[in-house]
């Protein structure tokens, strides 16, 4: 099969130009307000998913189980991005760190309960509104060390 080049007009650009003029400031302000309106739903989503992680941790398998770890990965993946909307940005960092750790374990085909458990416990601590920023920073710094250890092994 030879290589074909297709020069197509950018339809998205045309669609943006055909809309009524609205300043970017208005757009961003409206989007921010819309996000504030779902803040409470995001808090509930975080609570549910931390609970799901805790339930999963209660049945950690005796031997390496890739499907089980993938389940934990999927739950923590669904937390990333929700924390910022719920005004809990540290949740996003911790969930991403957990994804890195679990991804590293799946790559190495070796499960290790402790680093996952410390992430789940940290998520529970970070989920409290009004947590002082220095406490959040200290927790995240600790998780970062754990993450570095496991992500480095995976590479």
């Amino acid at each position: 099969m030879s290589t074909h080049l297709h020069f197509s007009a950018n339809k998205l650009s045309a669609a943006i130009k055909s809309g009524k003029p609205r300043t970017l400031k208005q757009c961003i302000a409206q989007a921010d307000e819309n996000l504030r309106n779902i803040g409470q739903a995001c808090v509930e989503h975080i609570n549910q998913h931390i609970q799901l992680l805790e339930n999963e941790m209660a049945c950690w398998p005796a031997a390496f189980d890739g499907a089980y770890l993938k389940g934990i990965y999927d739950i923590s993946l669904r937390l990333i991005g929700v924390g910022s909307v719920a005004n809990l940005p540290a949740i996003d960092h911790a969930a991403r760190s957990l994804c890195d750790v679990v991804d590293g374990m799946i790559t190495r085909s070796a499960g290790d309960r402790e680093p996952v458990l410390v992430h789940v416990k940290s998520l529970r601590l970070l989920n409290a509104h009004g947590q002082p920023p220095e406490v959040c920073a200290a927790i995240l710094a600790g998780l970062s060390k754990v993450r570095d250890k496991y992500i480095a092994r995976a590479e």
Partner: protein, 200 residues
Amino acid sequence: MTQRASDNQFFNLEKARILLLDGDTMSVAILTQILAGFGAKNLIKCTAVDAAKAHALKGEIELFLIDPSVEGGSGYKFVSWLRRTCPPPNRFSSILAVSGHTPVSTVKQVRDMGYNFLVAKPLTPTGLYQRIMWVARERRPYVQNKFYAGPDRRFKFEGLPPGSDGRRESDLPADLGDPSAPNMSQEDIDAMVQPLRISI
């Protein structure tokens, strides 16, 4: 890829048809709220690949926002299907990958499957605006061959590799020829690149 968001710029997605494909309903809700703030009214929300395919075959869509990890990684296959099997014009639509976890393997897979760009979560309105404008301004041709279908990945053209004559028809030799006309004066250059208003 620097695209500064200025308050004086205009932006409205009310005429754009946008398809969201994400298995997580909260992620879809966050995207929906941001896009609604941008004026989007024609949003198609899908949590399954089959539903997204049906919509892609039904009508024209200007922007796809897809989580590659949907249905255990089917978001990659969906984009491959869009780029190879889906009839035009949606075959050449702009596609943004939206992902929470972006290790190098994900970024490479997203690039090789024919996505235009990858947006990492957490999403912010300003960040998403910048990425949408980036793909809206794109003028890359679409390439299709046995190994790849999607936007031309060679968009950083920094000259020919050393010691090579190039393979493109438009490639020019690195050696410059003799001048064919006298040098332009500074006034001529200014007039060319900086038009001035004059009163007659």
